[in-house]
């Protein structure tokens, strides 16, 4: 089992900076994030966008800010569980917690800091009646193992890079691929678009544009998808339907942890950003208090105050003396 002082749920900018401030107080951090990479929204949604309100940086690309934060926290050796969602929480008798991920990873921690941003990123599911009942029975929102599709008939929906890339990659593996997209043009990388067009011209895939999937049918497994084009509506027999419409954030399992929540945000006391559950804090975009602003710089401030309170919880008998980094430097962990 992983053991840590502070388990940070969410490896976005606020979660990452928490490692630094906690490290100055000799508190060890572990981070868990549902995305396969660190940086949260900055990496997932807008890595190439400049941010203009980070103090001391007139302009910095979101992706560069994440790189800088990773560099800054390096001395404190944070550990990571990426690509997993914190799903279950148990409070132990001594006031510490055991958190279990959706993949069964167990983490023992004295304090939990939820820095979950807008929630955990989950695939967007098209609003088709009956779709949910075929999840894992022919309907997949992501491709985990391409071999699963060998000699199968696939319908891939979407117009972005993942839809294009998987259509290209699976075209050699699947028996037949139909790709369906709402418009005539694609938003993906140009060479991927070109490749898909070539595959279509060569008759290796069927490309249907200005069309949408609107119905599903099957018995114990998916059998067909109903397709609506500008001209007509018809059923296409397929073994698998792979809708690839990107990710969107959902509050997820933390909604069931007994926390006080207002409009998808966790209520906190601004004294130390503690929640109504003793030992759980919430910082950054996911928290809610009077006057809240969802800004990275506010999240940094919240993280800094939060770890002071967390210290008292981890070391109730020790006195905390505040030191400037300019005086004492950054003394990392070995």
């Amino acid at each position: 089992m992983i053991k840590t002082d502070i388990l940070i749920i969410g490896a976005g900018p606020c979660g990452l900076f928490t490692v630094f401030e906690a490290g100055l107080l000799k508190l060890k951090c572990h981070l868990i994030d549902v995305l396969p990479q660190v940086g949260g929204q900055l990496s997932e949604i807008y890595p190439k966008k400049p941010i203009y309100d980070i103090p001391g940086f007139p302009s910095i690309l979101a992706g560069d800010l994440v790189d800088n934060l990773m560099e800054q926290i390096k001395p404190f050796n944070p550990s990571f569980t990426l690509g997993e969602q914190a799903s279950e929480i148990k409070k132990l008798n001594d006031g510490s917690f055991e958190v279990i991920s959706n993949k069964g990873t167990k983490i023992h921690t004295k304090v939990i800091a939820i820095a979950g941003g807008l929630g955990s990123f989950e695939p967007r599911k098209p609003p088709i009646d009956g779709l949910l009942q075929f999840e894992d029975l022919g309907v997949d929102y992501m491709v985990k193992d391409p071999e699963k599709y060998r000699n199968k008939r696939l319908l891939i929906a979407g117009g972005g890079d993942s839809a294009l890339d998987w259509t290209i990659e699976l075209s050699d593996i699947a028996d037949h691929i139909t790709m369906i997209h709402r418009r005539n043009s694609f938003r993906g990388a140009l060479d991927s678009v070109d490749k898909v067009m070539e595959l279509s011209k060569a008759g290796k895939i069927d490309l249907i544009t200005e069309a949408q999937a609107i119905g599903v049918k099957g018995k114990s497994h998916l059998e067909a998808i109903e397709i609506k084009t500008k001209e007509n509506v018809y059923w296409l027999d397929v073994d698998h339907f792979i809708p690839l419409f990107g990710l969107s954030p959902k509050l997820g399992p933390i909604a069931d942890w007994g926390l006080s929540i207002t409009r998808s945000a966790i209520d906190v006391n601004t004294l130390d950003y503690s929640t109504n559950v003793d030992g759980i804090y919430a910082i950054g975009d996911i928290n809610n208090y009077e006057g809240k602003l969802k800004l990275i710089l506010c999240g940094f401030h919240e993280a800094t105050l939060m770890v002071q309170s967390a210290f008292k919880r981890v070391y109730p008998d020790q006195k905390l003396s505040f030191k400037y980094t300019t005086v004492s430097g950054v003394n990392g962990f070995n």
Partner: protein, 108 residues
């Protein structure tokens, strides 16, 4: 100071909300709807990088054309119609005085 313009937003239950918005503050429609506590997510903050402020334009006001970025994001939205727009990409300007929009449904 310039006068406010009037906007009508029909929510997902069909209720009409009459809003006013200043044209001299560089706002967009998503921001005005959020400020009025209407159920608009605006996840990305207005960069046309998510599709959570999707709405339908119900009146025939002359609007700016959707950018490629906006069209790309509409690809990730559902319930997209010919009059679909991302409200964060509609600036609050005098020429949209009286605009009526309906909030698009949200999916799971």
């Amino acid at each position: 100071m310039e006068e406010n313009i009037k906007l009508t937003v029909i929510d997902r239950e069909g209720t009409e909300h009459n809003l006013e918005a200043p044209t001299d503050m560089n706002f967009n429609l998503m921001e005005i709807m959020k400020a009025a506590e209407l159920p608009v997510e605006g996840t990305c903050g207005g960069m046309a990088l998510c599709a959570s402020c999707h709405c339908y334009i119900e009146s025939d006001h002359p609007l700016n054309q959707p950018s490629d970025d906006e069209e790309d994001m509409l690809d990730q939205a559902f319930f997209v119609e010919d009059n679909s727009r991302l409200s964060c990409q509609i600036p609050i300007v005098e020429s949209i005085n009286g605009l009526t929009v309906t909030l698009a449904p949200v999916s799971e």
